[in-house]
Each structure stands twice: as structure tokens, then as C-alpha cells.
């Protein structure tokens, strides 16, 4: 299973600007599989991404628009994208500000199919 994940994640890392991709558990933010550039702390990305998703899910539910399907955090020096899979995991991509978000998203949706 993790070999299948790894293949998909490595494809994601070939997209311009992507520094790493992970599959993490949504509940506790633990790494299931990852493909990361050197220096990217997978455990930190996983934990923070899961927490961020939870927090914004609460905002989304409070606004009565339902659970999240996609989250994009844009910061000065980077981009974080999170897509939840129905199986209780999150596909997470971290990249530089130049990351092609559209392409990354497409690959993440493909990754979801593998995760499912």
C-alpha cells in the first residue's frame, strides 16, 4: 500500500515548486507516506496540516457550508494545500510561493483515488 502511495507522491513532487507531498491521518496528523525534499520536516507538516484542516472545518461548519474538500494556505514564503480523502486521511502538498497550485491539485485528486 505504501509503495502505491509513494509512487503517486513522487509524481506530485515533480510539479514545479513542490517541495514535498504526504499522506497523513486526518484525526491525529501522523505520516502515512511521504515524498519530501531534504530539510522538510514531514512530522511537523503532517501535524500542522491536520490541525489546520480541523480548525477551518469548524469555521466552515459554523458558516453552515459543510465539511471542507480543499484547503489552500498561502504565505509569504510558501504554499500548503490539503485535500481530504473519504478514508480518513489527508493528502498534503507543501511548496514554494511559485508552486503551480492548479497542477498540484489535479495530482492530489489522483492521489485520492489511489488512497481510496
Amino acid at each position: 500500500m505504501s509503495e502505491r502511495f509513494r509512487g503517486v507522491l513522487e509524481r506530485m513532487t515533480r510539479i514545479g515548486g513542490v517541495r514535498g507531498a504526504l499522506v497523513v491521518t486526518a484525526d491525529d496528523g501522523l505520516v502515512v507516506a511521504d515524498a519530501l525534499m531534504e530539510g522538510i520536516r514531514g512530522n511537523a507538516v503532517a501535524a500542522l496540516a491536520a490541525n489546520l484542516m480541523k480548525r477551518f472545518n469548524r469555521v466552515s461548519n459554523a458558516a453552515t457550508v459543510g465539511g471542507l474538500r480543499f484547503l489552500h494556505l498561502q504565505a509569504d514564503g510558501g504554499t500548503l494545500i490539503i485535500v481530504p480523502a473519504p478514508t480518513g486521511v489527508l493528502v498534503v502538498t507543501i511548496g514554494g510561493p511559485e508552486m503551480n497550485v492548479g497542477l498540484a491539485r489535479l495530482e492530489m485528486l489522483r492521489a485520492i483515488e489511489v488512497v481510496e
Binding site: 489546520l52 477551518f56 459543510g66
Partner: protein, 264 residues
């Protein structure tokens, strides 16, 4: 209820080490039988001197009998053992509020909400404190009286300006059934924005600019248009993320102008 007390008392007599004392003490406290409640709590503490929930129970009883100073000491000790203990956070929030320290109450309640965002009693308490807080936004123009975003698309139903403690500054958010969900969303937005700040910092990404999220029934855009403020835009799924970002930029510009005006 009396039967419950009898059953729990019988269980405690049969097994003095039972943790049923927590439930029994709380039941007695709620019934106003404070002398019995304090006996149960102190007996329980003899068996479990390091059990934080037992200290929390004792503090609640102390608070009920009006010994706020001791209650505060006990709850503070509980927080030293577990800084996310909900009972102690709520108890200290109550004591702060009771003594007129609205900021202290908000601090404890916001931490409590971060521990359990699903606890409606905390959300309600936050709303109560904010509404009664001196110099709070309760004294400021209400959103309906101060249409910060007048003229912007969806100004009265899908744009919300909030301070970094989750108090509504302007705009309004309407839920699916047309109800005003501004306060509820504002309470969660403050925590979410803190998480965005923390995430960006810990991942060496610098300052966060915005978060765009797509959900089952709508898209949301969150940003911090000025220090100490947060902006939330909510639209249905027909509004693409790019357009949402453009709208957020206009609303952010409007919010900054309004906030500048408030400081004059």
C-alpha cells in the same frame, strides 16, 4: 435524582475507592447540598490526591459556597497539572468574569474553546462575556448600525470582520437557513487564524496571507487585512476561488479604511 444519589452513595460505601465520588459530588453540588458535596469531594481527594478532576470538583464547590479565593487557587493548581483542563479553564473564566476581569475570562474561555470547539457552553459563555465586556464591541456600533462593507457584493450576508479574539467588528454572516451565524463563525475564525499563523511560522513560510477553502456547499476565504483583525468571506460554490480572492482584496481594502477611521 434522590434515587441516583442513594445508588451512588451505596456504591461509594461499598467501595470507598470508587471514582463514583466525582459524579456523586457533582450531583450533590448541583442540588445545592454543598456540605455533603464537600465531604464527598474531600473523601475522594484522600483516595486520589493527584486526580485533577477531584480538585476541579472541590473548586466548583468552593466557588458555590462563595470562597472564590480558594477556588481560584485550586483551579490554578489544576492548570499547573494540565493547562488544558476544561473544568479549571471554565471555572477560572467564571471567577474572572465575576470579579470584572472580562479580558481574563476571555483568555480562559478562548483556551477552553481551543480544547473543545464543540462545547456549546463555552461558545455561549464567550458571547455573554463579549456582550457585557466594558469597552468591548458591544459598545461599538453593531454591524447593522455600521455597514462596514456597504456597497460590496454580499455585504450583509457573506462578509465578516472580526478581531483577533473572535469578536465581530462588522459585516454579517448568514447561515443556510438565513440565520445570523456571525458570532459562531467569529469564535472559530480566531482560532483558525492562530493556527494558520502557527503553521506558516513553524514551516518557515513566513507570514500567512490567506486561506481559501472549498466545502460541500460553499467556498470560504480568510485573511488578516490589518493587525489584530480577520476577514471571512463566504460564498456558494458557484463563486470560484479566484473571484473570491478578488472580492476579499476589495473587502480587505474597505476593512483597513474602516479600521483606520476607528482609531482617529
Amino acid at each position: 435524582m434522590v434515587d441516583d444519589i442513594e445508588v451512588m452513595t451505596a456504591e461509594l460505601v461499598a467501595n470507598p475507592g470508587s471514582l463514583i465520588f466525582l459524579e456523586l459530588g457533582e450531583t450533590l453540588r448541583r442540588r445545592g447540598q454543598l456540605e455533603s458535596a464537600v465531604r464527598v469531594a474531600l473523601t475522594g481527594l484522600e483516595h486520589y490526591p493527584s486526580l485533577l478532576d477531584a480538585h476541579d470538583l472541590y473548586a466548583r464547590i468552593l466557588s458555590d459556597v462563595g470562597d472564590h479565593q480558594r477556588a481560584r487557587q485550586v483551579w490554578t493548581q489544576v492548570l499547573h497539572g494540565n493547562r488544558r483542563h476544561l473544568g479549571a479553564l471554565k471555572g477560572l473564566a467564571f471567577l474572572c468574569f465575576w470579579s470584572g476581569d472580562a479580558d481574563g475570562a476571555l483568555d480562559h474561555l478562548e483556551t477552553a474553546l481551543a480544547v473543545n470547539p464543540a462545547d456549546q457552553s463555552i461558545v455561549q459563555a464567550l458571547q455573554t462575556v463579549r456582550a457585557m465586556e466594558p469597552h468591548s464591541m458591544a459598545d461599538a456600533p453593531t454591524p447593522s448600525a455600521e455597514p462596514v462593507f456597504a456597497g460590496l457584493d454580499g455585504a450583509e450576508r457573506g462578509i465578516l470582520l472580526v478581531d483577533d479574539r473572535g469578536r465581530v467588528l462588522g459585516g454579517r454572516l448568514e447561515g443556510a437557513e438565513g440565520a445570523d451565524v456571525s458570532e459562531h463563525a467569529a469564535a472559530y475564525l480566531a482560532g483558525a487564524a492562530q493556527e494558520a499563523t502557527r503553521t506558516a511560522r513553524m514551516l518557515d513560510m513566513g507570514a500567512w496571507h490567506w486561506v481559501v477553502a472549498e466545502s460541500e456547499a460553499g467556498n470560504i476565504h480568510a485573511s488578516a487585512p490589518a493587525a489584530g483583525s480577520l476577514l471571512l468571506i463566504v460564498r456558494d460554490r458557484g463563486v470560484p476561488a479566484g473571484r473570491l480572492t478578488m472580492l476579499a482584496e476589495r473587502a480587505g481594502h474597505t476593512a483597513r479604511k474602516w479600521l483606520d477611521g476607528q482609531q482617529l
